[in-house]
Amino acid sequence: MSRIGVFVCHCGTNIGGVVNVPEVVEAARHMPLVAYADENKYTCSEVGQASIRDAIREQRLDRVVIASCSPRMHENTFRRTVAAAGLNPYLLEISNIREHCSWVHSDSKDATAKAIDLVSMAVAKVARHESLFPKQVGLTKRALIIGGGITGIQAALDIASAGHEVVLVEKEPSIGGRMSQLDKTFPTLDCSACILTPKMVDVAQHPNITLLTYSEVKEVRGFVGNFEVDILKKAKMVDYVKCTGCGTCWQACPERIPSEFDMGLGSRPAIYIPFAQAVPNKPVIDIANCRYEKYLKWKETEEGPEPPQCRICEGVCPTEAIDRSQKDEIITEKFGAVVVTTGFKTFDHSVYGEYGGGRYPDVISSLELERLMSAAGPTGGEVLRPSDGSHPKNVVFIQCVGSRDDKVGRPYCSKVCCMYTAKHAIMLREHDSEVQCYVFYIDVRAGGKDFEEFARRAQDETGALYLRGRVSQIYQEGKNLKVMGEDSLIGRPVEIEADLVVLATGMEPSDNADLIAQKLNISYNTYNFLIEAHPKLRPVETQTDGIFVAGTCVGPRDIPDCVAHGGAAAAKVVALLSQDSLTTDPLTSIIDPMKCVGCFACKEVCPFNAIEEQITRDKRTIASINESLCKGCGLCIVACRPGAINLRGFTSQQLLSEVLTLVRG
């Protein structure tokens, strides 16, 4: 006969303040097979855990139910507690009477009755638990990092220095991400490229890091320690072994395309490196815009006008490095851990019709201003109006464009814009002492180290006028823009004639962040930000073991936080890869060979190809489970007609017992 112990937690007043814990304990004492029931103030504390271990020994308990917070919080903790008392860690069931009960119901009677029901369900289930024994599997000591911005770069360097192999995959021709587009960084006004490029070079030169630029992750299979990833290497049309990065080809190319790196304010050729300090410092050919490639495509159908057979780059290349025979290639690599650092893009402000809807060339985004201020940018570092190239004297900044705004579906704050606008106000004054800046703000958020002092400097020392209010309309009058806004602190409308307007556009995840998340089976929220395992305590892990997330793909943050994040993810990866073997999850499917008829309906539905054929001694062909591949989803159990498969941890008998206890109890 089983002897089940039930431990009900108060969790301070989180549970005890709503649920009548003593009543639940008393009810538990009368539940079938319960030999002992008790309560704890904080079960997860050392005291609480000790009391459980003691009770298991003293009361000779062989199964445990803990009624507390969500199993997603502390199931692993309590498994260790139970194991320390000599019991198999899987002879435990957690009943969620906090997140699913005391925190969402205010009526004490209802909450207590529900808690008693939930405990009785857990008691019925755990009575049918069996001891389970995880297996050891090997792991691949290599890490994959998806996204080569500052976060990915930092993670790569940290994992590589710990002695593990890293593959860094980046979809653009160069690593560097958004930080490479910035001129200076707040609050130190360090030159962004100066602090970033040494790290980029380190990545390229580190013996443990393989850099795959112009590449994308296509498919991910496997599980922690044993991932198999298909990576698409897009054809660069340049042989990087022969290419020396001399630059003759891109200087000679006659084609001009709006430069993505310069936000469309400048242009680039068809064979190009995105910026001067690109790593690798070797070009790729943009096939869609290359004249000769267009000619080759034209030759297939001969429809329309004939494009020129250019090939100038091939003519001038001193090492014959152009290789038009290259094709896109898919390689498959094995990894033990994956870190997602896909970064952000800025909000498209053209949805704001009141700010010109993208029609006015002198209404620009803050990232466009960064490109103008950059010495390596389209105007050589001079801030010039896009419309006529003159120097602006009256610059209006509008904060919270695409942030804190429900109407455009972005209610969140993008965290960095108050700071970078303060930086812009300071920098513009440095460029031109006659410039007058106006900043329309809702709040000034300057929460980091030295941030408040920096923001005050912009307000007090540059003559920038900070106006608390929104802008209702911008319209073009002659050469300049009329900005109609409000100063709510004096309660008056204000009208400013500006020659340049800069919109502080919000941060959102990069394109296709949701597709990457789906490939990895990790969660993402409404705005496509990836979801971490716990927002407070587990900022770089996901619910899926072995897959980590870091940087702005998780939420808006600035460079110091991204570097910290990347390092944190690296530490988790190194901890994972420093083990010699991994313990598998024993909650897998199991087939009863006596009942299996070999119909393989289970094989049809298994998403992980974990079902194999087996021939029994009496020559029947039946199904068998590959426990390394099985992820414990349970699809096969429902598909099996003779009822030959069951899922450990969630057996059909356990689920049925929960239902029956509920309806009959």
Partner: protein, 136 residues
């Protein structure tokens, strides 16, 4: 049954999305009626339609199965299977004389705490109006 003898709703929630979404409703302290009893499963695809029938047979007033949004299943395809299985089941329930409204399949992601609470609130209200299930 709950203290006020309202409808008994059994909810099967998948561990990765909907159970986490229900947890999120808890951490956000969003209140909803106490009639639902949640059973955790690894995937909505684990829930056997026969188990749902058993729930009704034994006297439950309503059953909810919640899983990840199509495309987001932690196990890639589990929710596609559950979607199809439960579409068939609904037709059968109808035939068995159980009102279709008593069985709901919803997709709730891990960040949708508010939505989860809204779903439970509306479901409980509808089932209260519909009344207890008559034994058949």
């Amino acid at each position: 049954m709950s203290a006020d003898n309202g409808p008994l709703i059994i909810g099967f929630l998948c561990n990765w999305c909907s159970y986490a979404g229900a947890d999120m409703a808890g951490t956000s302290r969003i209140a909803y009626p106490a009639n639902i009893r949640i059973i955790r499963v690894p995937c909505s695809g684990r829930v056997d339609p026969l188990l749902i029938v058993k729930c009704f047979e034994e006297g439950a007033d309503a059953v909810l199965v919640a899983g990840c949004h199509p495309g987001d299943c932690h196990y890639n395809e589990g929710n596609y299977y559950s979607r199809r299985r439960f579409a068939l089941l609904r037709a059968l329930l109808d035939f068995m004389g159980i009102e279709k409204e008593r069985f709901q399949v919803k997709w709730v992601s891990a960040s949708e705490g508010k939505r989860f609470a809204k779903i439970i609130t509306e479901f409980t209200e509808d089932m209260t109006k519909l009344g207890a299930r008559k034994a058949s």
